[in-house]
């Protein structure tokens, strides 16, 4: 079943941001890992995942309607 999420990619991951990020189609039940792979983001570049403002991980499952944030490691000062 097709559902949608709001997708936010941070810092260097913005290069992978799809056009329809505000209403990005997913398959209901899709894992974050599958989503990341579908976006072409190397898994090694992903350090932090948030779903609706709460820390999640790549095995977390999306059903639609979530806000998903993905971060690379950020260390500049």
């Amino acid at each position: 079943m097709v559902a949608h999420i709001e997708l936010k990619l941070f810092a260097s991951l913005k290069a992978y941001l799809p056009q329809e990020a505000e209403r990005f189609p997913i398959t209901s039940g899709e894992s974050v890992e599958a989503l990341i792979k579908r976006l072409g983001i190397p898994l090694d570049d992903v350090k932090l995942i948030f779903i609706d403002g709460i820390r999640a991980d790549i095995s977390s499952v999306l059903w639609g309607g979530e806000r998903v944030g993905v971060f690379p490691p950020v260390g500049g000062g």
């Binding site: 260097s12 932090l48 609706d52 709460i54 260390g75 500049g76």
Partner: protein, 287 residues
């Protein structure tokens, strides 16, 4: 002697009013310095004595409507270790000196180079090639000569960090790169010292607070052993507006800790992205 000093400060102080008309007693820098020199007291001790006598050192007149005189004293009695004198550290040092944090432990082994000029407030054309930490000490002396500064011109390692931290009340992580942050965090945990940590890349960044019993950086960066030396900043650089903003947030949180107020970013990650003016506080405790 304390009472006599308080009395002398009161006598020299003058009536003043805040911009909204609220009256207070004020003493200027020169008068206070004169009173301290005559008694062999440090500038910081003089400022504390004035505040305890109910007199506001004029340089803190715009602080003391939000912070009470007792809280200004608490800041003057506080010690903060700032690690990294780059973009974050330069602003943090500036803010803490102006707030009147009494003791600053400044740590950095680096010298200024030209690529620092875009964001590092302590860097300037004539300071290229000079040690960052010395420039920082000079700046603090110029802004608030009453602040006691301890300079550590070195990089952190497993052996030196604990002794550098000493009995700091708060440490502020202003480091660049990823791995040294874990060295600092390890020492703060051992020392029982709260840590405020920020990092930036491009136009975005994040800040958090880690108490010794908290899981800390590993939640944000994963296993330190599998980390690259640098993060997204190696491809995006660091812009001055986000660096300065995050440094200010670090100071705000550190000040709350110094004043025994509830820290607001423990187990939380405040994320700012100036690309879309997004600001969000995310929950680091797994859902």
């Amino acid at each position: 002697m304390r009472a006599a000093l308080g009395q002398a400060i009161w006598q020299v102080s003058t009536p003043a009013t805040h911009p909204d008309g609220t009256p207070y007693r004020s003493i200027g820098m020169k008068d206070l310095k004169k009173l301290c020199q005559g008694r062999g007291l440090s500038g910081r001790d003089g400022q504390i004595a004035a505040l305890e006598a109910g007199v506001v050192p004029e340089r803190y007149a715009r602080n003391v409507r939000v912070y009470s005189l007792e809280e200004q004293v608490a800041l003057l009695r506080s010690s903060v270790c700032v690690v990294g004198m780059g973009g974050l550290g330069g602003t943090v040092v500036e803010v803490l000196a102006r707030l009147g944090v009494g003791t600053l432990l400044l740590v950095d082994g680096d010298i200024f180079d030209e690529s620092n000029l875009n964001r590092q407030f302590l860097s300037q054309e004539q300071a290229l090639g000079k040690p960052k930490v010395q420039e920082a000490a000079t700046r603090v002396g110029a802004v608030n000569s009453s602040v006691v500064v301890h300079v550590h011109q070195c990089y952190l390692n497993e052996d030196n960090t604990l002794s550098i931290l000493g009995d700091a009340d708060v440490a502020i992580d202003c480091l660049g790169g990823l791995k040294d942050r874990f060295v600092l965090e390890g020492a703060t945990k051992q020392a029982g010292c709260p840590l405020v940590s920020a990092a930036v890349a491009g136009l975005s960044g994040h800040v958090t607070t880690i108490f010794p019993s908290d899981p800390g950086l590993q939640v944000i960066y994963g296993d330190p052993l599998s980390l690259p030396t640098q993060g997204a900043e190696s491809s995006l650089g660091c812009l001055p507006q986000i660096t300065t903003l995050l440094a200010a947030l670090e100071c705000s949180e550190a000040t709350r800790i110094l004043l025994k107020k509830r820290p607001l970013l423990r187990h939380q990650l405040m994320v700012i992205d100036l690309d879309d003016m997004g600001a969000e506080v995310l929950d680091l405790q797994r859902g």
